[in-house]
Assembly symmetry: C2
Homo-oligomer: 668 residues x 2
């Protein structure tokens, strides 16, 4: 065996052996318990052995057309498997869907637009009768979700698509009146969707009643051909997600029945004698509720994609040496300090994702059972999910790029997965709600509460904003980071609380002053960067509050290392992103800034010995990782070389006669 291979394999085996905690216990924690852990392992094995799903060719050796086809094939096969093996075992059926999501981001999204976006829209916007009608139809259709337009995304109220009610026939006429109203980026609309839920301006009696949701058939169920009046096309080449047929949709006077408007919150009631009557929604936010699960799903994706990249980078860092006598590269301080906070951060976000997802799962049941509870909590979870999506996905970008750099040149090869994760991830910071917009949405919500508290107006500080009830009290104190607080998560939570309140209160008074000579929109714009910061710190406050309160910290097998993860990530966040605010509000002295840096360095070094265990516990098998340099067994070079040698055209120069020969005759 190659000497470097031998050393690499011995290195990773030794690391694994020396892990300070039970990797098995941690893996079960990560998967949410023993049963779920076992179901996930079983699902992995089912997928791994299925040649239509875990196909032989590296996806980066496929053409776009082939990749789209293969992904469609995977969807089709996953459904067969769920319908057969998962039939009597819902835990397994669910695990298969999740495992499929780990296998390929294109596959994941192609399933997601139907399973989640299309479905949940009907659940959230449909009446009980409509849910009953449209969900049973579901097995016979492929659904997608049409919101964004070529000319509009962040400002939904300016969408141009119109649905005009025709009282003569009790139908809606759906139209894309301009080029810029073309629905754009719609996942699965490019080649495969037969139906879409579509958001549109709602015109009744020549009056625009705002946005509502419609079910529009797109393609024939028999032939797959576009229905009359419908033009859909594939969006072509993208940065990543090459297997997903994102598409565009133009509708030209397409007629659909009245009942195809989802009518839980807004109803149009026709009459034989009078003009139709419109009953408006109780709160505009209810009309955007599908955005909430969509945003929470960004945190799930963080675990999947960033989790895989961090696993690869950690293992590579452990097995890679620049020659046999040299150190493992992860032990270079800059690599330790870059990599370990990523591992820690994933555990911190994992907890938040569970808590917020759990809250939403409870809440969306209330939408049916108990609409007033639903309406009361909606603004908070709406804002929180927006903020977490923004801050979490920005961090994900940073994490992925850090992983790529940690692997040097070899992560530039498509065969080592990270490059593909970066490309797939690209859309996440701007799609599903542009991050700049989302973080301001949260800031607006937070500012609203602080404003009211300061004005002694009645305001319910529910959910994430509970700590804002103490605004007046926090404002009275000069907060200084406790001298012995660097290893205590609570200090960081208090720091974030204090910063949110102080920045918020400052902005409230700056707003007042500036409003004297500016419009409200201008005032907002003058402080937009500061407001972005406010929103970001609010997210950290909630992120670490949730982590501080996690019940799992009581599990002794894993709690010490989880606690270290929390402290390391909190210190890292302050050091990388918040020093300016910390110093502006004099929350730390010069000496403390040095201590903070030391906390990151020493915390990273301390967790370094557990890096293999912590990432093994994420539970991604090699066939999911698809990255020879991140192999479980450390045998990286041979497998990497084999992958390259097996790629098509490895030993061919088809253009030698045509293009190289002329050069050999003479150059300038």
């Amino acid at each position: 065996m190659d000497p470097m291979t031998e050393q690499a394999m011995a290195d990773i085996a030794r690391e694994r052996k020396n892990t300070s905690f039970s990797i098995q216990a941690m893996a079960e924690y990560v998967d949410g318990g023993k049963d779920l852990h076992n179901a996930r392992k079983l699902a992995h094995n089912i997928l791994k052995r299925d040649p239509q799903i875990a196909f032989e060719t590296n996806p980066f050796d496929l053409t776009r057309a082939q990749w789209r086809w293969k992904t469609a094939q995977q969807v089709s096969r996953i459904n067969e498997i769920r319908a057969t093996l998962g039939k009597t075992d819902p835990l397994l059926a669910d695990a298969i869907s999740k495992a499929a999501g780990e296998l390929s981001e294109s596959l994941s999204m192609k399933m997601y637009v139907h399973d989640m976006l299309y479905h949940q829209s009907i659940q959230l916007f449909g009446t009980p009768a409509q849910i009953k009608e449209f969900i049973p139809k579901d097995p016979r259709i492929v659904g997608c979700f049409a919101m964004t337009e070529l000319g509009h995304s962040s400002s939904l109220r300016d969408l141009e698509t119109t649905a005009t009610f025709d009282p003569k026939t009790n139908e809606w006429i759906i139209t894309s009146p301009t080029l810029t109203s073309t629905k754009w980026w719609i996942g699965a609309a490019g080649q495969s969707a037969t139906h879409t839920v579509l958001v549109s301006q709602t015109i009744v009696n020549t009056e625009n009643h705002g946005l509502s949701w419609f079910i529009v058939p797109l393609r024939s169920l028999e032939t797959g051909r576009l229905l009359p009046g419908v033009t859909c096309g594939d969006i072509g080449a993208k940065a990543g997600r090459h297997g997903l047929d994102n598409g565009w949709i133009q509708l030209t006077s397409v007629r659909i029945p009245l009942n195809n408007m989802l009518s839980k919150w807004m109803q149009v009631i026709p009459s034989l004698t009078q003009p139709p009557r419109v009953s408006p929604p109780p709160h505009p936010a209810v009309m955007y509720a599908t955005l909430i699960p969509e945003r929470i799903s960004a945190l799930t994706l963080l675990q999947v994609l960033v989790g895989q990249s961090v696993t690869i980078a950690s293992r590579y860092g452990v097995v890679r040496r620049q020659g046999p006598g040299n150190p493992q590269i992860i032990d270079f301080q800059i690599q330790t300090v870059n990599t370990l906070p990523l591992v820690a951060g994933l555990y911190v976000y994992m907890n938040a994702e569970r808590k917020i997802q759990g809250r939403w799962d409870r809440l969306r049941l209330e939408a049916v059972k108990n609409p007033s509870v639903y309406l009361e909590e909606l603004p908070d979870i709406h804002s929180v999910s927006a903020g977490f999506k923004a801050v979490g996905t920005w961090w994900g970008s940073y994490a992925l790029e850090t992983c790529r750099r940690a692997c040097g040149g070899h992560a530039y090869s498509a065969y080592n997965a990270i490059a593909g994760h970066i490309a797939d991830w690209g859309v996440v910071t701007t799609g599903g709600g542009d991050n700049y917009t989302l973080i301001q949405q949260l800031a607006r919500y937070v500012m609203g509460i602080i404003q009211k508290v300061l004005a002694n107006k009645q305001v319910a500080c529910i959910g994430s904003t509970a700590f804002l009830a103490n605004t007046q009290q926090i404002l009275k104190q000069q907060y200084t980071f406790p001298q012995d607080g660097f290893k205590d998560l609570h200090s960081y939570v208090t720091l974030f609380s204090s910063l949110v309140v102080k920045m918020g209160a400052d902005l409230v008074s700056k707003f007042k002053e500036t409003r004297k000579s500016n419009s409200t929109a201008d005032v907002w714009n003058i402080y937009m960067v500061d407001l972005t910061k406010l929103g970001t710190i609010f997210v950290y406050q909630h992120l670490f509050s949730l982590y501080q309160g996690m019940s799992d910290l009581k599990n002794e097998a894993i709690s010490p290392v989880l606690l270290k993860c929390g402290v390391l990530f909190a210190a890292d966040v302050v050091r990388r992103e918040l020093l300016d605010s910390v110093l502006e509000y004099e929350c730390m002295t010069k000496g403390q800034v040095e201590r903070l840096r030391e906390t990151v360095y020493s915390g990273a070094k301390e967790l370094r010995a557990d890096v293999v265990g912590l990432t093994d516990a994420f539970g991604f098998p090699d066939f999911i990782l698809k990255a020879p340099i991140g192999r479980y067994d450390g045998d990286i070079y041979r497998h990497y070389f084999e992958t390259v040698k097996n790629a098509p055209d490895c030993f061919k120069t088809p253009y030698f006669e045509d293009e190289v020969k002329p050069l050999l005759k003479g150059r300038l």
Copy 2:
């Protein structure tokens, strides 16, 4: 015309008209004078009209094999054009090469490995006789440059390839003894190179004399087939640069003549009676000199790739509105504050690239005429080029991602270029010298000088380190940023000088203390993150010193705006990257940190009105940009839509019967 299109075109025309300076004057400055400007425009027109170069299909609609072929075709055609149209006009010939580099990064690199890396290696490492021999041969070969190995990159001294001298035949036997010694990532080795310069351990009389450079034939000039003992293959799928055939090389006892070792600095002198004698190089750095132009070229690439992305993002920011009544998105404060420092930064780096390139051009002539001058200045430019490559390319990554986000979802389409730039750029922070390694190389150089100055040892503070001659003086003063210095470039230069000296001196004493109980390598590792920071700040010191001294600031047509660019970028750099150091060394008060932030906000807002002019002056025509959303005329939506509609398979679902139909029969 679509209403949003009409508005977009009017918006950009108005911006252009209202630019505060002469765009033509700035464009000539950017191109380095009127003659060069005209040559570039002519070169653009020649390329644009050539169907083999500016081919119709969008490159992202090609397969990898097609893209590799097309790029080879472009190289071949560019050479014909240079040999014909450029024959009597060296300015034009050069402009054609540069314009080709703007058109495609794959093309650029494929030309570069032969024209620059292969050529310059012979020039820098060859004797006059060898230069004469190998350069005239050049028109009959395609050269590449083999350094990196599968198992080694940053630690060159651990490379495993061996060249063993056989005194019986006066030949070298070149061998790749292990899998990990496989030369890896070698541009053009995959399919097209016929020769390589190759760095290898040099074994004479069974003793290893370190690295030297060899010319090794790889493929038959007649048939393109691999020569006996040579195994080369294509590296397959990468993140980007899909048209470039990066490859790998394994050599098995390949024999080449003695004279194929480039022998300017190190010679092997055979003898009939005695063992061969080895004359070692005067300084190890001379053996790595090709790395200098390679690193400077990263700054050129910054102008080309990041310049294009910033042009696209700026124009899109100006024409994009979320509906007709809404603001131009670039006027949202967060967009202004993100985008304008990028524009400014490009002008600042542009100046540095010229100065450093100019210095190297002078210096490499000295290598022949005046080796002692060459040897004296080599360590400085070696370290400076390393540091600039690291800091410049890190900034480039940040800039490209910021551009992508500034364009929202539409930059996720491959047809709008930025996604491709990000993918192409990916390799730059780790390839051509890993940035983490390079910045430490510079830090080591800087620390060496500061150590000597502090110990009152004789040291020549030449080139970039001139200011370190004042180390003792700077240390004596408590530096505080001048109250009225925020708009004065000089304040920032002084700030950077002061920080370098103070951090350096602190590290010198920390080193002394730590060395008592640690090895030298461990000491370095304990402070590696701090040393990275030291190197980074040193780069900024030099970057802004060079900008401050630029003679072009006397050109009144453009100097006011250029000066604003310098101040904005300096303030932005401190705000984004250096606040922790500024505060640790108490260089700014709390109030000044706020002023600094205000300087960035107001500076960005002030330059905002010139954003179209400043990016127009970069001089990238639409056929180079290949991004409908960055079109010169603002007519973005129609062209974007046409590109998508013309992509292959836009209206096809080839897998409907096989993969969609099964779904319509029933899902779980």
